[in-house]
């Protein structure tokens, strides 16, 4: 299972998974957490921040089933904390090229097995660190429900409030910031027993069918032990030559 970076440049390769993600979010936030404001007759959770500015980290299993996701938006684009909940922040919210907003965090599902949810919870957090490294992100900002904060801290984040708790209608939460600490990613990997990278990002330009095949090939390659990579490359070169 990998966490895929899905954004405007490669979304055509993930059309089915993107729909699954919106459906999964609706199931989690409306069906399980009871957030009535997000209820939608089509069973999809989509809001005004699901735009080409958003990058999704989507946890997809070997059968192409979406197991969890979260949404990342750069702070220089419209985002919830600036455009909807500015008054949740005391003073100015952090912003700039190294600050991204993390929202719609939906790890797992009550309908999934416990072990899957455990993996997804860790994988999304490991992927967030890897994504941060790939984009030069130093700080994540967002709004966390008070009930979730101890879980975030348990996952090694230092969650710093930047506003007071507010009743947002579906619960009580507050604006936060948290700095990315690469050392924490090593701890998360150790806790999950994962050695390889969790994040996978497909290049732009592949059409849907090619993209799906390329994804499978890359995932296979990522699952190989380093000692076998030479052999795999040789085999691949043979195929290219034959074609």
């Amino acid at each position: 299972m990998h966490v895929h970076v899905v954004n405007a440049s490669n979304r055509r390769q993930y059309l089915d998974e993107i729909e699954q993600m919106h459906r999964h979010r609706h199931r989690v936030f409306v069906g399980q957490m009871g957030w009535k404001a997000l209820d939608s007759p089509d069973g999809l959770d989509i809001d005004e921040f699901d735009t080409p500015n958003a990058t999704y980290l989507i946890c997809i299993d070997a059968d192409s089933i979406v197991r969890g996701s979260c949404r990342m938006i750069p702070s220089w684009r419209p985002h919830m904390l600036r455009n909807l909940f500015a008054d949740y922040v005391e003073g100015d919210a952090p912003s700039g090229p190294s600050v991204w907003e993390w929202t719609r965090h939906a790890p797992g599902d009550r309908a999934f097995e416990k072990e899957i949810n455990h993996q997804v919870r860790f994988l999304l957090n490991i992927a967030a660190h890897e994504f941060a490294a790939s984009r030069g992100i130093e700080t994540f900002i967002g709004i966390a429900d008070c009930q979730i904060v101890p879980r975030m801290i348990d996952l090694g984040w230092k969650v710093e409030p930047i506003g007071m708790p507010v009743n947002y209608g579906e619960g009580v939460g507050y604006a936060f910031k948290m700095n990315v600490d690469t050392a924490n990613n090593d701890k998360l990997r150790a806790r999950l027993g994962r050695t390889g990278t969790a994040l996978m990002e497909m290049p732009r330009g592949l059409v849907a069918e090619e993209g799906a095949m390329a994804r499978r090939t890359i995932e296979l390659a990522m699952s190989l032990p380093p000692a076998s990579l030479n052999k795999a490359e040789e085999a691949l070169r043979g195929l290219v030559k034959a074609a």
């Binding site: 005391e90 008070c146 009930q147 904060v149 101890p150 879980r151 801290i153 348990d154 230092k158 969650v159 710093e160 409030p161 930047i162 506003g163 007071m164 708790p165 507010v166 009743n167 619960g171 009580v172 507050y174």
Partner: protein, 261 residues
């Protein structure tokens, strides 16, 4: 008049309170290595609100059962002793509140908005006799399904100023985080006594023996051989830790595995 003055002072404090010290406490609580230092820091902040006593405890366990197990805090010793000696936790409805919407509640608001039961009223009345006129309960749901709570108590009536309640909520969250991290967790419940599991057949054999039937007749009733009945009885005696079949019948009745008659 004095009480009114106290309320105004609390409100003014809340309004004047800048978030800086709260955010600093949040930061400190996450990296602290010593719970005493966290207690000291929180005491300093709460004293400015006129709050002298605060306790973090497990309100309910994973199954929703009230425990009231104290984890840490700066308690009011006499009141705590009275609370424990009088076994007040099971009657403390305030501790059960907040399961659906975990928001801070003051005692005065709870009294105004809830139909207070007799047992709960007695808790408030007796707390008042100990000089605790008002308080705040802040429910903190835990990831394992249990509920922690922070109780803060003070000698005068408290205003329900929203900003102050938010501030106290934030402090309580990070106080609980520090307590969890530094190992202030509730004591493990005593292990449930192990029930010897008898099979359905073993119970049936014992029930017919209880009726006075010999093993051969029991075999007839159950459609099994006498030897098989004896084997079931032997297993039942072994599992119940007794010597004779009569003792097995008595023990099985005593432990609720079969009925008396």
């Amino acid at each position: 008049m004095n009480q009114q003055a106290d309320v105004s002072a609390t409100t003014m404090l809340a309004e004047a309170m800048v978030s800086g010290p709260l955010f600093q406490f949040a930061e400190m609580a996450q990296v602290a290595t010593d719970m005493d230092a966290v207690d000291k820091e929180l005491t300093g902040i709460l004293t400015s609100f006129g709050i002298d006593h605060f306790v973090l405890y497990q309100a309910t366990d994973k199954g929703g059962k009230p425990t009231g197990a104290r984890l840490c805090g700066k308690r009011h010793d006499d009141w705590r002793k009275h609370y424990v000696d009088s076994d007040m936790a099971p009657r403390d409805d305030l501790m059960k509140s907040g399961r659906h919407m975990p928001v801070p509640t003051t005692w005065s608001r709870f009294k105004a908005e809830t139909k207070v039961r007799k047992g709960q009223k007695r808790i408030f009345d007796e707390a008042s006799e100990f000089g605790l006129k008002d308080g705040i309960y802040i429910p903190l749901p835990q990831t394992d399904g249990s509920m922690y709570g922070v109780s803060m108590m003070l000698p005068h009536k408290l205003d329900n100023e929203p900003r102050m309640l938010s501030a106290l909520h934030l402090l309580a969250i990070y106080y609980s985080v520090a307590a969890n991290k530094l190992g202030r967790s509730p004591p493990e419940p005593p292990p449930a006594p192990e029930l010897p599991v008898l099979t359905r057949r073993q119970c049936e054999c014992l029930m017919w023996i209880r009726e006075g039937l010999p093993p051969a007749a029991v075999g007839d009733k159950l459609g099994i051989a006498e030897n098989t009945v004896n084997e079931h009885l032997e297993q039942a005696r072994r599992r119940l830790g007794v010597v004779t079949t009569s003792q097995a019948v008595i023990e099985a009745i005593h432990r609720g595995l079969i009925k008396l008659g």
